[in-house]
Symmetry: C2
């Protein structure tokens, strides 16, 4: 297994990315290709004491795509950027998967334009797992596609179902449509039409799910357009951060509370970890013809290790092959492109 890592993508690049890559190599044993400015990457490797480790290779790329770049323009023009070079390596068979903590929009555009979608898949989607005290609830799409068609939501449902089976090891995923109420007629026309498609699909469709209950373990796959998915994901992140910040204030105010804080510190820490996007690791770009994993922009080394593990598992899962073989069942006659 050979994992291609965009060494220059993310808030903590290249230091934490390279550190994570070295840790992943040491603990998981995979071969790693680090793509980025050679001098920078080599400096980081030296800092990790591994300048010439066999199994870690540097592939030079002189440019970097940053968060201010327009995704489409950046992919088209920055041919020598670490992200574009990494994706071309994947396309040409130079490795089994790409991991990047760089711009989500650019990675999605790059994966679509360079690696390409699975034939018949209308849109690639981002599908992170939300914490739910169980195996997690897969949210698809969470931001790749602001505007979606009912057919695209149907495809997201099938991809989410398969991903939950293969990667989250859920035997018979309960697939739900994110909506503003549980009744069948709820939502805008997108949700109303998608509901009818999902009802007839070969899935365990359990109907609409409201945003208030997604974390409570009643559903395994949450299907939605990328705009609403982004709102859901980010408000969970923000609310958790807001509450934990307030709890921290409570636990550091006054001697009595400080003593109490010492007593529950480890347990509150575990909760914080559960809600931390860094711990979730990576998010697969579902629908792309080869494995591309988006790591969180704020990834530190541990998140990169998780993303590398996830990339390898995804490559071995047979997900892409199964979708490719079954795409005809995921189409709606006469649907717009």
């Amino acid at each position: 297994m050979k994992i291609i890592i965009d060494a220059m993508g993310g808030d903590n690049a290249p230091e934490e990315i390279v550190k994570g890559a070295v840790q992943a190599h040491r603990t998981l044993g995979y071969e790693i290709i680090l793509v980025g400015r050679e001098a920078d990457v080599r400096r980081c490797l030296t800092a990790e004491g591994t300048e010439s480790l066999p199994g870690i290779e540097i592939h030079n790329a002189g440019d970097v795509i940053d968060m201010n770049d327009d995704p489409t323009l950046a992919i088209r023009r920055k041919k020598d950027s670490s992200m574009v070079v990494a994706l071309n390596l994947l396309k040409d068979g130079g490795g089994d998967a790409v991991v990047s903590a760089g711009s989500t929009g650019a990675l999605l555009t790059g994966a679509t334009l360079i690696v390409r979608r699975i034939k018949g898949v209308r849109r690639a989607a981002l599908a992170p797992a939300l914490p739910n005290l169980g195996a997690g609830a897969l949210l698809i799409d969470c931001g790749a596609n602001a505007e979606c068609t009912p057919e695209q939501l149907l495809q997201f449902a099938y991809m989410g179902d398969l991903y939950a089976r293969r990667m989250l090891k859920i035997e018979r995923p309960r697939v739900a449509l994110l909506n503003n109420g549980t009744e069948e007629h709820k939502g805008a026309s997108l949700q109303q039409e998608a509901y009818q498609l999902l009802k007839q699909a070969d899935l365990q469709f359990v109907g609409n799910v409201e945003a208030s209950t997604v974390l409570f373990g009643d559903v395994d796959v949450i299907v939605t357009d990328g705009f609403s998915g982004n709102i859901l994901l980010k408000s969970i992140e923000g609310t958790a951060k807001f509450l934990l910040k307030n709890i921290k204030t409570v636990l550091t105010t006054g001697l009595k509370n400080k003593i109490a804080a010492l007593m529950v510190k480890n347990d509150i820490g575990a909760l914080k970890k559960m809600m931390d996007p860094n711990e979730i690791g990576g998010t697969a770009l579902l629908g792309i013809s080869k494995p591309v994993i988006k790591a969180h922009g704020s990834s530190e080394a541990s998140a990169i290790v998780n993303a590398v593990r996830q990339a390898a598992e995804f490559a071995e899962s047979g997900f892409i092959q199964t979708i490719t073989e079954n795409i005809d069942h995921m189409r709606v006659d006469g649907a717009e492109e």
Copy 2:
């Protein structure tokens, strides 16, 4: 000030509604009209020891709209329901405001069809205040309109701005558009077009806001369509509930944690209260030509007291008159209805 209360609406009707009405009358001094099945209402009043309290009047209505009713059909057909009777009373000048904890969809439909919108307002909106450690951040719309036009979002922004000034006492509200990123080009076409209208509006428009930061006090009015607003509001509710449930588990596991729990109990209780929809009280239906306040479906007596207080303040705020006088500035030439 005379407040009309739908005694039969909500999960805890009529007991908690009547109890709240009595408390509101006693503590705030307003006259109250309780609309509902006379025998039921009278039984509840007796339980409160106030069968013949001057200032509390019963107006009989034999029918009830429940959560399973289709909103439009229910308003059209259940002419003798407590909600329809209450709204007709308001329309005919029998009171100054309506408070209902019944079906949101039915109340909105009823307010629109019976009381009617302010002339020129395209859609009425629900605008609850989110907790943000300050005066609160007004979310408009949060579920009334699943599909919106850019002009409607512009009107929501103006109404939200005025409501924040008059009701939340924020001198110069910072108005933001909910989006999946902070950059100007973000979102679907709705957000992109609304952004351009908001940029030119006579408002302190501070650009896009992401769902992850809405609680942190940087914005005062969050403008969005009702579908996304519903996702945002409910995921904040759900995440807070999920986390507080987990914290409770932490604090009741093991002797050490139980002792710690006793020490921080009051402070954690205050946090829980801050995130509790019951404490927020009511949400005004902005854009309706007379004051209609939606109380949370799970309202207990204390939430009804808050909603009654809010109804009276809203009636006295001059909000409706100001919107009526300035509606010409809130229109977009050639916009679809």
